[in-house]
Symmetry: D2
Subunit: 343 residues, 4 copies
């Protein structure tokens, strides 16, 4: 079944356990002739990689992508693109003890319940390591989207980390910010304070949740499909398929219930809609927020130093990647909307 595939036209299937030989992705549905930017994949993987700063796990994973198929002379062939990342830091021994004592907050017991036979060496498919496949696929999606619609931009950042929240003033600056220059990806002067909090948490086996906010600029109007594939529905599935994600808001989201209709609908072109009306992009900025619970690798279950005290900084490129997958799928989908094609 399609349990491990995502997307309708730009179809992505991922494979690989966290402690198996390799993880990878096959993309079936990438058009031929897309200029292939291998460095983009590596750059995005580096942004997701553990060990990139003091606020992430100190585990080191090289994460070297190898293109197996679908690309020739730097362009896509129209055939399936398979990209594989071998696992190198497979310290299975570390996890041997887990075999009979599932970690609280993890899904080990659920998978056992479901499949009987599971890979107990560190989560298997339910490990956060699985998200690297999303970043690889999302990077290819980005190449496609930006060739179809050159000015489209996606920008994710941390808008909440534990008790910290970006202020409206800070939120107003995000398009001008170099998000990656903040180890927390929380674009605020509070960054250093949060770094200290997370370093402390790492020592104490504490962890924090947070919110990743995502903006999309210069998206063509008209993306999204009737009824079940509204673009907000596909974004919701995309984001809630990420391991620790617990909620998503589009535009006003939960605050929408606090505003009466005459105020809410005063103008057609309002950020309140989050760039989506009737499930279809309006061409205005898309605004979504994705909440994550605190990392479950805590205290005794967390190997000292080998856990993320907060997943948010590393979740940013994952959320961006899922957004690219949805956008690219729908960009291609509009080719089928009318008897006269748009692209």
């Amino acid at each position: 079944m399609s349990a491990n595939s995502f997307g309708t036209l730009f179809k992505v299937i991922t494979f690989g356990e966290s402690h198996g030989k390799a993880l990878g992705v096959v993309i079936d549905g990438c058009p031929a002739g897309v200029k292939f930017d291998f460095d983009l994949i590596k750059a995005n993987l580096d942004r997701r990689r553990p060990g990139q700063s003091s606020v992430t796990t100190s585990r080191q994973e090289a994460d070297i992508p190898v293109v197996m198929s679908g690309v020739f002379e730097n362009k896509t062939l129209g055939t399936p693109i398979c990209i594989v990342v071998e696992n190198t830091d497979q310290k299975s021994a570390d996890y041997q003890e887990i075999k009979n004592s599932p970690r609280i907050g993890h899904a080990d017991d659920m998978w056992k319940e479901k499949f009987d036979h599971v890979d107990y060496r560190g989560g298997g498919r339910s490990s956060g390591r699985e998200t690297l496949c999303r970043v690889v696929a999302g990077s290819v999606a980005q190449m496609v989207a930006q060739q179809l619609s050159a000015k489209i931009q996606v920008k994710g950042f941390a808008s909440e980390i534990g008790p910290y929240k970006l202020t409206p003033a800070e939120l107003a600056t995000v398009w001008k910010q170099n998000i990656d220059s903040y180890p927390t990806r929380f674009p605020s002067l509070k960054n250093n304070e949060i770094v200290t909090m997370l370093e402390q948490a790492k020592i104490e086996g504490e962890s924090f949740g947070g919110v990743v906010e995502l903006r999309v600029k210069n998206v063509p109007a008209g993306l999204g499909q009737p009824v079940f594939h509204k673009i907000k529905a596909d974004l919701a599935q995309a984001m809630l398929s990420i391991g620790a994600a617990t909620a998503i808001e589009i535009g006003e989201g939960f605050s929408a219930s606090e505003i009466a209709g005459q105020e809410f609908h005063k103008e057609s072109h309002s950020a309140k809609y989050g760039g989506i009306r009737g499930g279809i992009t309006t061409g205005e900025e898309i605004i979504i927020r994705v909440a994550f619970k605190p990392t479950s690798s805590i205290k005794d279950t967390a190997k000292k130093g080998r856990h993320d005290p907060c997943i948010i900084p590393r979740a940013v490129p994952v959320v961006e990647s899922m957004a690219w997958l949805v956008l690219t799928d729908h960009l291609l989908w509009t080719r089928l909307d009318k008897i006269e094609s748009r692209f």
Copy 2:
């Protein structure tokens, strides 16, 4: 394409414009031998129907379902089940003027942008009327789910309507409440107050958003699939595919970021997880919340009396139906989990 279908194994495809000849649904993937409860469909349609109380639109639609196929001698045949509801209250004339003046907050202009040729007579597929197909399909899903797992129960209710919010005490009583005995489906002594507010809003062309909360009891552990079809991902897509939905939370949702990990993960069996861990049901109560924006049919665009001042009461059976669709799909899906089947 599958723009109008939902589900993987219990596959539902809906059709019909709000002012066309009929709406309906085809279910491809319902097993043979399911006892067919036609009255359940009618009862659920009545719960969604406009005109059921003073707080909903006064439009009257009979909504009579007709089974075209797939059922014989009160049992399903294993063949596609088609159920059609003819449109009777097609006052297209009312909408003729809309042709050249799209309504703010509606999606008319978006659809025009997308398809060029659209049904301007009242939203076509983007009309809320489309949701009746979901209720029909969800009712069939309920029949299947309750035959596979007799004790499973789904209960939706309004937990926020405009400025009103259920208190923790009120939330604790919901399983004992007869939700439908409240015209607002907001199980609280405040119900009358809200009725007055909504009747007033109907007169003034004002509208309110809110939140539908959904609980699922006695769900088997082990529902959900790896990575992209985590049950929370499928629930998110299901709910955000509803017209006015703007957000979804699973368990703690956005509050999850406010609790530190050692507190959050203190116990494996916690309502904080919302009954889902690793994307898989734990067997504990599922808790989700879906936010809706205020109805966009307001002021001059709303025909006097012919709009819903708040969609929440009528959204409750729709949210329940989408939940049944997801649950049934995943109940069937577990049959494929292991080489020795579970069912």
Copy 3:
């Protein structure tokens, strides 16, 4: 599951039992703006209809198509097109006796084995009546294909009926022939002889098989997809999904094994390839042949006069319809081949 759907982009789902309330089809994936030719559907249904001549069953079925959705002001909306045909000649009583005595050569016992609960009143979904949905859907596909590629033509005809076979000279004339002017759809002076044979067979409860040959002219080059969706693979599935079909040949087909390679591949542009190379259309004439076994309604199982002594004449529009479905699916699919779209 998708047991009752066909196609990838131009997705067709059919429903309805032969003795239920209605049969019908939903098309999900028809672009907006297609000029809708309702008369074409009626004309093609008439070509498939029983009782159209002395060589077909004398059962009379009106087969009146009703468009439920997806069409407005004579153009498609881009939403699902549902078309329903009610059953009027449901003489279930005729079939009551079948309940406990499955007919040899029919599939009743197979369905019983599979589903336990079946519609014994005349085959249910395994009845030949199911093919009317294919003709309805194929007619819509034809509208789409001919708007995408105006000169494309599909022509089916009987090339074998029982012991009769078209001669090479007769085969050479088929594009000039009005096939429907022959009750047998066997374009030959032998037509009358065959009519006599079939009328006699009808009286005696005898039946004959045969071959439908199909030609496609002016098809664009480049239709078909890599590996599993070669156009010949999709045509094979399409044709072998028809009830009584037992075989399919593309181009030389089984004769290909009788010709040595140097002769076979002497020229690139050869009818031997049947218009398909590497699974992709070359732009040359497509030639396929579909074999059908003799009708299984014979002798005691056949109601006097109420069976087809040979299904071939009525199979011609069904084979054509399946071809249109495949062609249209692949015409749309080419829109996704390259980063610069073709259509």
Copy 4:
């Protein structure tokens, strides 16, 4: 899109160009707990491998499968199984000249037409090398099928090679024969004669087509789905998706038209049906025949010695593999037939 995937529940996606880094397959939908027989994969690959005898191409490809995911402690995990085979004999230089002179009978020009940007180094995805992925996937399917239904057996063999045809007497012995003991896989005393013919053809750049016949024994009754996924339809798609395949017959196939109905349908349990009635397996022996055209690598286009004078011997394991894929898909599918599951 799903251009490179096959199957509905046991879903297989293949990737890789003949001269790229690797070929491989991902299986999404294999249940957990299947005993994994790696040697079966290697054995079947060896049966397909070039260079295995004097009648096949002398190209040598090691074809070493590497399991990347989905298997742990010799059992399947229920997660996607990825198996990769690296290309080692990539003599691209040999093919450089092909860049501007497409080979007659090959699909190079078709792919160029379709995708603009293609891999000219030897067919890319349209190379016969692609079939090794089918053999890998088919071997896994075989493991699943034989655990679900222990006695099921699949047996393929050459029944025609160029001018040679198995006699009825020879056909009657096939279940007792060790097919692989014949280099031609044509189980007849004529084997040596054919070997001589093919060795000569290899020298002269000549080639021959033929027919692979396939039998399936001890298959459960009830496999196949209504209407579009009749098992014969899925088998037809499976077989016609193989590069050089030109035709398929089920049971009597084209001969069915030569037998009158009263004779044809004399008994329910007849080899004439080929083990399939109403598109559903009867439990009797399945009999199908697949025709292949002569290899197109001939004369000047064929590198001396590096072409197959007849693809039939090496096509046998490919046809068997495609059969296993279809059978396993449908074995799993029956789990969804009824509200009470069969397995």
